[in-house]
Symmetry: C2
Subunit: 352 residues, 2 copies
DNA sequence: CCTAGTTGTGAGAGCGCTCCCAAGACAGGG
DNA sequence: CCCTGTCTTGGGAGCGCTCTCACAACTAGG
C-alpha cells in the first residue's frame, strides 16, 4: 500500500503538504502542488478511507433502513425503485449506501446497535414505517441524522401527496358514475395510509355520498391480504374499489377473477404507486403514479445535505406531487379520459 | 465517546488487557476479566469499528454489485429477493452490505475504484453478468475477493441448474403434446442464458424435433423486449413459448392478449424464476422455480468464508436445484400434472 | 526600515484500536 | 535452590490520515 508518507518522500515535501494538495486546501504554491500531483500519479496513490475516517470522524456511508414490519413487502417493486433512486443520489454525492433489512424481529435491537451506534453509518434513510415502529422510536431518541420516506412526526421527511392522490383516484371513479366505492387500505398505523383514506373519504363527502365503514377493509399491503379483503367486500356489492397499492390491486384483480367477476365490467379497480407491474396486469391498471425514484433520491439528498452541513436551519419537509394514470381497469380508456378531462380539468390539491 | 482507555482506567488495568477481554482472547485471569466487563457495562463502552478497522485492516463490509447492464432490470423482483437473501446472510455473519448500482455507464470506472480499491469494502458479490462485462473483467484482474451469482469462468460462483430447468420446462411442454415450441431468451452474452437455451435445445432433440433458429428470439430480460419478440414469433405460429424469465413471460402474455390470442388455449407459456409476479398473472404462470433467496444467501456465505479464511483451498462451485411449478399458463392444471407425473416421474438432471 | 499581516511549509500530536514484546509471578523438574 | 516454562499483564509502536500550531519567507503600509 502506498501512503501519504511515500508520496511526500518522492515529492520532497512533508506529509502535511501532500494532505493539503489531496484535499484541495489553499496555501500551497502552484509549483509544489504540481510536484505532489506528479508523485501521486506516479505512485498511483489513493487515500485510505478508513484512516481518513478515523481522523475526520466522517465515513461517507449512509444506510437505507427497512423496518421489520416492511421486510416481507420488500419484493414489492416499490422498494427496488426507491432503492435505485437512493443509490443514484449516493453515487452523485460520493456516498456509499448500506442496505439494512431488519429481517429478524428478535435481533432487531442488536442489528440496530451494530449499525447505527458507533458504526460506519453516519445517517440513515428509513423507509415508510409506522410512527410507533421500534426503529423509528430509537432513531428519534438517539438523534442520529435521519430522513424518513413518508410523513413522520419528529423527523425530517420526504413524502408524496397521498391525500391528493387518493382523492383524485376516488373522484375519478365518481366522475365515471360509480357510487358504491370501496377501498382497501394498508395498515392504518402508517400515516400515509391514513392520508390516503382521508382523501378517499373527502372525495365521497364532496359528492354527497355517505362514508360506510364496511366498505373500508385493511389489506396489509400484500397481495394475499388484498384477496382476503375482496372476499369480505364482495357481499357488499361494490361497484368500484380504490386500492392503496398496485400490488394489492393485483391481488384484488386475481380475487375478482376467481369469483367470476370481470374488471372493469363488473367491478372497477384503481391502484396506487404505478409500479411497472401496473401496466402488466390484465386489464392494465389505472393508478396513482408517485415519483418513487425521486422519493429515494431526494431522501438521500436531504440526508447528505444534513451531514455535510449545507442548508442548515429548520428545513421544510418535502411533499412531491402525484398523478393519475388512466388505463383500463376503471372502465374508461386513456383517450376517453383525456377528452373528458379537457372539458373539466381536475385540480390537484396539496395538503400539509 | 467512551474509549478503551476509559474502560482501562476504571477497571484499573491496561488498554491491552481490556482489548483482550473485548476480543475474547485467552490469558486473562477470570477475576480481571470480570472487573473489565463491569467497567464496560458501567460506561456503556462499544468498540469503535473504524479504529478497529484501521488496526486490523478488516471492515466486515461487503458489497452487492449490480453491473450497469443489469441496472435497468433492477426492479425485477428477482433482485429484491436476491438482495434479501444476501442481506440476511450478512446479518447472521455480522457483516454490512453496501449496495452498488452502476447506474451511469460513464462513471462506471470511477465508481468501481471508489468502491473497491482502497474502500471500505472487503469483497463483493456480483450479480449475474456477462463474462465480458467491464466490472467482471476488473474484478478478475484486481483479484479482489468476489463471488458471482451465476456461472462465471475464473471466479467462484453460485448458480442454479439452468440447463436442467430449461430442459424440464421444455419437456413439460412436449409431454403435453406441443411440438412447435418457441423460446424467448435473455442476452446471449450471459452464460446462464446459454445454459437455458441448451436445455431447451436438448429437450427438443431428445424428442426428435428439429431445432429451428427462427423460433429463438432474444428478449433482453425485459417486458418490452419480450413483447417485441412475440411480434417476431407470431407469424411462425408457435404453439407454445418457453420464456427465460417471468418478467418477460408477463410481457409475452400481454402481447399475446393484444394480438387477440388466449393463453393457454392459443399459445401455451412457461416462464423461469417463479417470482411472486408469476402467480399473479392471468392465467397464473407455469414456471421454473429457482431458489433466489438462497442464491443470495449462499453467495454471501461463500464470500464471507473466503474473507474469514474458513474453508480454504479450492472450493467447489455450487449449483442449486430448480423445480417446475405447474400452474395454468401451459394448459394443464397442477392437479392433472401431478397425476400425470405419478405415472411417469420426470428425472431432474443436473449439470456441471 | 520596522512592523504587521499574509502565504507556504513542516513538525507532531492525535483519532481508537491491535498486537508484538518484555517482564513479573508462579509452578514444577532436576 | 536454580532453571525453564507458562500464565498474566503492561508498554508502546504502529495503522494512515488530518489539523493545529509554529515558524520562515515574503509583502506592504507607515
Amino acid at each position: 500500500m502506498v501512503t501519504l508518507e511515500d508520496v511526500a518522500r518522492l515529492a520532497g515535501v512533508s506529509r502535511s503538504t501532500v494532505s493539503r494538495v489531496i484535499n484541495g486546501q489553499p496555501h500551497v504554491r502552484a509549483e509544489t502542488k504540481a510536484r505532489v500531483l506528479a508523485a501521486v500519479e506516479r505512485l498511483g496513490y489513493r487515500p485510505h478511507p478508513i484512516a481518513r475516517s478515523l481522523a475526520t470522524r466522517r465515513t461517507k456511508v449512509v444506510s437505507m433502513l427497512i423496518p421489520e414490519s416492511l421486510t416481507k413487502l420488500f419484493s414489492d417493486q416499490f422498494f427496488a425503485i426507491l432503492l435505485q433512486g437512493a443509490v443514484h443520489a449516493c453515487n452523485t454525492r460520493g456516498y456509499q449506501m448500506v442496505l439494512a433489512l431488519f429481517d429478524d424481529p428478535r435481533r432487531q435491537e442488536e442489528l440496530y446497535r451494530q449499525l447505527l451506534q458507533n458504526g460506519y453509518v453516519e445517517g440513515a434513510v428509513v423507509a415508510s414505517a409506522a410512527p410507533d415502529d421500534p426503529v423509528i422510536q430509537a432513531l428519534r431518541e438517539d438523534g442520529i441524522p435521519v430522513v424518513a420516506v413518508g410523513k413522520q412526526p419528529g423527523l425530517p421527511y420526504v413524502d408524496v401527496n397521498n391525500y391528493g392522490g387518493a382523492r383524485m383516484a376516488t373522484e375519478h371513479l365518481l366522475s365515471l358514475g360509480y357510487r358504491r366505492i370501496a377501498t382497501i387500505t394498508g395498515p392504518l398505523s402508517h400515516l400515509h395510509v391514513q392520508d390516503r383514506l382521508a382523501g378517499y373519504r373527502d372525495a365521497l363527502k364532496a359528492h354527497g355520498i355517505p362514508y360506510e365503514e364496511e366498505l373500508v377493509v385493511e389489506g396489509g399491503f400484500t397481495e394475499v391480504g388484498a384477496m382476503a379483503a375482496v372476499a369480505k367486500l364482495l357481499p357488499l356489492r361494490p361497484e368500484a374499489i380504490f386500492v392503496q397499492s398496485d400490488t394489492m390491486a393485483a391481488g384484488v384483480m386475481r380475487a375478482l377473477r376467481s369469483h367470476g367477476l370481470r374488471v372493469p365490467e363488473d367491478v372497477a379497480v384503481v391502484g396506487f404507486d404505478d409500479i411497472p407491474l401496473a401496466s402488466l396486469l390484465d386489464p392494465p391498471l389505472t393508478t396513482v403514479r408517485q415519483p418513487i425514484r425521486l422519493l429515494g433520491f431526494m431522501a438521500v439528498e436531504l440526508l447528505v445535505d444534513l451531514l455535510d452541513g449545507h442548508n442548515p436551519g429548520p428545513r421544510e419537509n418535502t411533499v412531491l406531487p402525484v398523478e393519475l394514470v388512466v388505463r383500463s381497469s376503471c372502465g374508461i380508456t386513456r383517450k376517453q379520459f383525456l377528452e373528458k378531462r379537457s372539458e373539466k380539468p381536475f385540480p390537484v390539491k396539496g395538503e400539509t
